[in-house]
């Protein structure tokens, strides 16, 4: 029996808390069908090696601190504010400026890689220049696959991003929209759309929905606090004022409000994913006002339950509404109101919900297909038969 290949996954963070973190774990899980997977991360309070499910986790305890991340975020925002045509894509100053965030946390990775001798390395994130540098110091010829995690508002104009993409033999992306974003940095990048494995939890619809009385409501998702002065809250306010005869359930960061007839019932914020999924499953329509994101996982979950979506034009979620014909997209407040108005009619809502569910099940509902796409993208591996 031949020895299984060994793959190293270099990820700045190893958690399920974000869409990117969740997707990284799914990719690593898929990889585990054909290889022994070792995860190397700067995370952790003390260095060490431990088992984490199907993976072996190597913690270096050199984490990127919140202050470092804030600095990167500020620089990204500043860079994103510059018109694309006038961005300086080859300035060495920016990489130098970000050195503490990009390189320092990965100093010890060479030693771990030297000990592991992996057959393949997965680097997670377009900004993980330190991991690429460590990989090159370990073995400049070792094949590398990049998990892009190009978020919607990602500033891709940093010169180090191109360097990370260039080093990769394959760049894994979740959606075509993400592929387009990576293509803006390197048009000839070897991107592979692998999708994501998602499934609707049947109990979400069968168990009673204690959050909202009845099942006829518009579910509005915001990322803002209830009292925050921002566009998301303005739009949510507009909807509940414009449609007083409809139940409008608004999820804020710090509260969950159910509006009907000008009256509100306030509750705790939604924290558990099972509660979120139940609300998505029972809703008439999901209006996701949240900016950013990797692939709009919540919208896909909504579509898997047959609940059509309304999303901002130009967002990652628009791809699902447009390609899957599972919802509508809006360019401003007036269009949002028109979209919700149209969705009030079952003759619009039902077909869109049905089409969206077909799309979501086809594109994201097959774990086996996802595993095979990941293994195929990591061409050095000899995949085992995949079930599911």
């Amino acid at each position: 029996m031949s020895e299984r290949p060994r793959a190293a996954v270099l990820a700045t963070h190893w958690s399920n808390g974000t869409e990117g973190g969740w997707f990284t774990r799914q990719v690593a899980g898929a990889l585990a069908h054909g290889a022994d997977v070792h995860v190397i991360t700067p995370d952790g309070s003390s260095p060490g090696v431990s088992a984490d499910g199907a993976f072996t986790l190597h913690r270096m305890a050199t984490p990127v601190t919140p202050a470092m991340e804030l600095r990167t975020e500020l620089l990204s925002s500043a860079l994103a504010a510059v018109p694309t045509g006038s961005r300086r894509t080859s300035s060495p100053d920016l990489t130098g400026l970000l050195r503490p965030e990009l390189l320092d946390p990965w100093e010890d990775a060479v030693e771990v890689l030297d000990g592991l001798h992996p057959d393949l390395v997965l680097v997670v994130g377009l900004h993980t220049l330190g991991a690429v540098a460590a990989l090159d110091r370990h073995d400049p010829e070792l094949p590398m696959v990049l998990v892009a995690l190009a978020e919607e508002r990602e500033a891709l104009g940093f010169p180090h991003v191109a360097r990370v993409v260039d080093r990769a033999s394959s760049v894994l992306v979740v959606t075509d929209a993400e592929r387009t974003a990576v293509g803006a940095v390197r048009p000839d990048a070897p991107t592979r759309v692998v999708g994501a494995p998602l499934a609707a939890n049947p109990s979400a619809r069968t168990e009673p929905n204690a959050w909202v009385d009845g099942s006829e409501y518009v579910f509005v998702l915001t990322a803002a606090s209830e009292d925050e002065d921002c566009t998301e809250n303005d739009l949510a306010r507009l909807l509940r004022v414009r449609f007083p005869d409809r139940t409008i359930a608004v999820s804020h960061r710090d509260a969950f409000c159910v509006w009907h007839g000008g009256e509100v019932r306030r509750g705790w914020p939604i924290e558990r994913s099972s509660d979120l999924e139940r609300l998505l499953a029972w809703a008439d329509t999901t209006v996701d006002l949240r900016p950013g994101g990797l692939f709009a996982r919540t919208c896909i979950t909504s579509m898997l339950h047959g609940t059509p979506i309304i999303v901002p034009s130009g967002s990652r979620a628009e791809q699902h509404a447009r390609r899957g014909s599972g919802g509508l997209w809006f360019r401003g407040a007036a269009e949002l109101a028109r979209c919700v108005d149209a969705m009030c009619s079952p003759s619009v809502r039902d077909p869109l919900g049905r089409q969206g569910r077909n799309y979501a099940e086809r594109e994201f509902g097959h774990t086996g297909a996802f595993v095979e796409r990941v293994l195929t993208a990591c061409a050095l591996l000899d995949p085992e038969p995949v079930c599911g």
Partner: protein, 161 residues
């Protein structure tokens, strides 16, 4: 029957076209609702008790006196007492009857007024909510792009009565 498939892009184009036609108009004055309940008895059990018990006994019941010499003496005294107090007891009975009827009328009036108050409050809230929704509609109409394929923005129609 299977519903027809919908292309969201086409639907959005259609919505945008419809958006160029005026869809806002001032709210018509709302008609105030008339009271619906004829009576609302809030203390039904007490009123029922009054109706059943306002007629006090106007004669002595020998059955309560018992038997024997003692019973005969009690019955004799009882009859004598009721005979002496008879006119007063009849007056009192008439008075109680009037009091029960007045009480009845007051109860009905109170219920009617309470109902009316609640309806007015609800009418006011409904109107306020409807005004807000209509203003939101107007704001959206004013915000939309005036330059459609048809050219200029349409003008508002006169207010409806």
């Amino acid at each position: 029957m299977e519903q027809p498939e919908i292309d969201p892009a086409d639907l959005l184009d259609r919505l945008r076209d419809e958006d160029r036609i005026l869809r806002w108009e001032p709210l018509a004055p709302s008609s105030v609702r008339r009271p619906t309940g004829s009576g609302q008895v809030r203390s039904g059990a007490d009123l029922a008790y009054l109706h059943e018990h306002w007629a006090l006994p106007d004669a002595f019941d020998p059955a309560v006196a018992g038997g024997g010499i003692r019973g005969r003496i009690v019955a004799l005294v009882g009859r004598a007492t009721f005979r002496v107090l008879g006119p007063y007891l009849r007056e009192e009975r008439a008075l109680l009857g009037h009091l029960v009827r007045v009480n009845d009328a007051l109860e009905q009036r109170c219920d009617t007024l309470t109902l009316r108050c609640e309806q007015l409050e609800q009418d006011m809230i409904d109107r306020q909510v409807a005004e807000a929704a209509n203003l939101a509609e107007l704001a959206l109409w004013l915000q939309r792009d005036p330059q459609g394929p048809g050219g200029a923005r349409s003008t508002p129609e006169p207010a409806h009565e």
